[in-house]
């Protein structure tokens, strides 16, 4: 996967598979065939386009024999950082309902900043607290956005 060629072959394959799944799902759509544009036509067309595009990319890359540029993937430490970021983001989304937006915000911001820059714990905690206050007073109280409040609702 370090080479563009291999990356494109894999990407093309995955995309072709996605196209095939869409075509399969489109065949399940029920609708009036008498309509000018039956409901399954467009999903079929886009599914076929995706399948064809993915296959063409995979085949073209497979047969490609020229200079092969490197894909600029991160090193293992980089993958870990991305993984932790995505995990924190997923936890943030998952905790939004039970903890409420302000508390989840404070936790997420403080932990994410603290993770990236371990020397700035105080700054991380402060930014987290300020973000939570901004979310609570600006977005929820002033702008009236209906974010989950969690325990704060009581």
């Amino acid at each position: 996967m370090r080479s563009q060629r291999k990356g494109d072959i894999v990407a093309g394959g995955v995309i072709a598979l996605l196209g095939a799944v869409v075509i399969l799902a489109a065949s399940q759509i029920r609708g009036d065939v008498e309509e000018r544009l039956p409901p399954r036509t467009l999903p079929y067309v886009v599914g076929f386009l995706t399948l064809a595009g993915g296959l063409a990319l995979a085949v073209k890359s497979y047969r490609y024999r020229g200079e092969d540029p490197r894909v600029d993937w991160p090193d293992s430490a980089g993958w870990v950082r991305i993984g932790v970021h995505l995990l924190l983001l997923a936890l943030f989304a998952a905790l939004m309902d039970p903890l409420g937006m302000p508390i989840a915000t404070a936790l997420y911001v403080a932990v994410a900043i603290g993770y990236m820059d371990r020397k700035r714990v105080a700054a991380a905690l402060l930014t987290g607290a300020v973000s939570a206050l901004v979310v609570y007073f600006l977005f929820i109280k002033l702008l009236g956005l209906t974010f989950p409040l969690g325990p704060l609702a009581r």
Binding site: Q4, G7, D8, A11, I15, L18, G19, V22, A25, I29, R30, E35, R36, L37, P39, R40, L42, P43, V46, L49, T50, G53, G54, L57, K60, S61, Y64, G66, E67, D68, V71, D72, W73, P74, A77, G78, R81, I82, H85, L86, L89, A93, D97, T105, Y108, V109, A112, I113, M116, D117, A123, T127, S131, V135, F139, L143, G144, L145, T146, F147
Partner: protein, 503 residues
């Protein structure tokens, strides 16, 4: 007759009301901030803020969104010049000579000329918009659904064929964008499709969360992997370029205005493209091209002028046809639709007050930006020094708030997260992102106009070919696709998109 001085003056009267002035100012501030901060661009910025603006009136909301878009063009130059980190892709050519000037201790003059050139070209572009848009809207009044379908089809195929050497990848990106928007209910019949029995998918995938994911979340991922830390700035003193320098740049400003504006009318010619062209043209017409790359002040004036003229020019097809030329304008189009305003020629007839207030506000916004930029450049440059470990989580927080407030569904946050991952992989594997965004925004209008056209023609697809205007657009579309395929067959290069960051 869709243009009159009375309408324009009434627009100015509207735009100068306290509340609209305030929102224009907010938009200019946010836009400059977005432009200054690397890691978040106008498309993501507008997408994040869009759902939150539903509580202010449509005119004020769109005034603010438009100000964010052209404001970002001003801000992007600051970091390009001061620290050689372009805040946006469109500021890359600015960094070439701008950073050289900064190294010679002339950062102030470079920042000054970029603000002045932005102002001159942005305003000249607005004059073009003021007279061109109503003219084109007059033409577009003759458009029916087949013409609209053909126009949008042409827009999409131009964007794909401009994805450089990556035509296949552009096509794939387009179909993924179309796929995302096909999920959910059919806009006319309400029949559900591609939902795989998941209840959340019934409501469809919001293109706003798609864009937030593609641009904001993936950008944070890219920066996180590098463990990007601190950016150290240089000291700046002496803000103003000399009069002789301003005079020397006058030609560059006018030329880049023309290049930026007219190329900005075309789909796919985003500011990221036109700035390179303007820089190149300036180098060619210069009597001393050897100075370019070594701190030539015209090399700063030209791209900065071009990106602002392009952003003004892009509003012409948006207002006249409802056709966005790039991702940021596509998000703005989404904003218009969210307010229930159908963009296109009827907008000038049904909502003239709205259109002219927005156009007038752009003139005012350019003045605001000039005032904000000249004396406050030092402040903006310091903002750019916020370390990434602090900035990254805050961008994510804004993305989550933006995605959640579209419909107050957690589902939209997950969609943004998913498309963050997709966007990351697309960037790594060099897929162009713009076609995906455009396709996901245009999909619904494409589908509706296709259905209406087939109703008119009683099912015959020839309707797109035997009506002259529709046929013309279709021919252009097929020509651009054919040209792309021909270039692909001739070249034996791997599929690699040109750098396609958030414009």
């Amino acid at each position: 007759m869709l243009f009159s001085w009375d309408l324009l003056l009434a627009g100015f009267a509207d735009a100068l009301s306290w509340s609209n002035l305030l929102w224009a100012l907010v938009g200019c501030l946010v836009g400059t901030l977005i432009g200054v901060l690397p890691g978040i661009g106008p498309s993501a910025g507008i997408a994040i803020l869009l759902p939150m603006t539903t509580m202010i009136p449509p005119t004020s909301g769109i005034i603010m969104m438009a100000a964010i878009y052209y404001g970002a063009m001003y801000g992007g130059s600051t970091t390009a010049i001061v620290v050689n980190i372009p805040g946006e892709a469109s500021s890359v050519p600015t960094a070439i000579d701008g950073y050289e000037m900064a190294k010679q201790g002339r950062a102030g003059a470079a920042l000054g000329i970029s603000a002045i050139s932005s102002f001159v070209a942005g305003t000249l572009g607005l004059v073009g918009l003021t007279f061109f848009a109503p003219l084109l809207a007059n033409v577009a009044l003759a458009f029916g659904p087949p013409e609209y379908f053909a126009l949008m089809f042409m827009g999409l195929s131009l964007v794909i064929s401009l994805s450089g050497r990556a035509l296949l990848k552009g096509m794939i990106a387009t179909s993924i964008g179309l796929l995302a928007s096909l999920i959910g209910q059919n806009p006319l019949t309400g029949a559900s499709r591609l939902t795989f029995g998941v209840v959340d998918l019934m409501a469809g995938v919001s293109f706003i969360s798609v864009i937030i994911g593609l641009f904001a979340v993936s950008e944070v991922m890219i920066n996180a992997e590098r463990a990007a830390a601190h950016i150290y700035g240089t000291k700046i003193h002496g803000w103003m370029p000399t009069w002789a320098e301003i005079r020397r740049c006058a030609g560059a400003m006018v030329r880049s205005s023309g290049i930026g504006f007219f190329l900005g009318l075309l789909p796919g010619c985003a500011p990221a493209v036109t700035t390179f062209i303007a820089y190149d043209v300036e180098k060619r017409v210069s009597k001393t091209p050897e100075r370019f790359g070594k701190g030539a002040i015209e090399g700063v004036a030209a791209p900065e002028g071009a990106n602002n003229a392009t952003s003004s020019g892009g509003f012409v097809p948006l207002f006249a046809f409802g056709l966005p030329t790039g991702p940021a304008l596509a998000v703005l189009l989404g904003g218009l639709m969210m307010y229930g305003l159908q963009p296109g020629p009827m907008l000038f007839q049904t909502n003239p007050k709205f259109v002219w207030a927005v156009i007038a506000s752009m003139y005012i916004g350019n003045v605001i930006l000039l005032i904000l930029n000249l004396p406050l450049v030092g402040f903006w440059a310091r903002i750019a020094l916020i370390p990434f470990p602090v900035l990254g989580p805050l961008i994510i927080l804004c993305s989550v708030i933006g995605a959640y407030s579209i419909r107050f569904m957690l589902f939209d946050v997950w969609v943004a997260l998913l498309f963050g991952g997709i966007g990351y992989l697309m960037r790594k594997l060099r897929f162009p992102i713009a076609p995906l965004v455009l396709a996901s925004v245009l999909a619904q209008m494409l589908e509706t106009s296709l259905q209406q056209s087939l109703l008119i023609s009683q099912g015959s697809w020839l309707i797109f070919l035997n009506r002259p205007i529709a046929g013309f657009f279709m021919a252009l579309a097929f020509l651009s696709i054919g040209r792309g395929i021909w270039l692909q067959l001739r070249s034996h290069a791997p599929e690699i998109a040109i750098d396609d960051a958030d414009e």
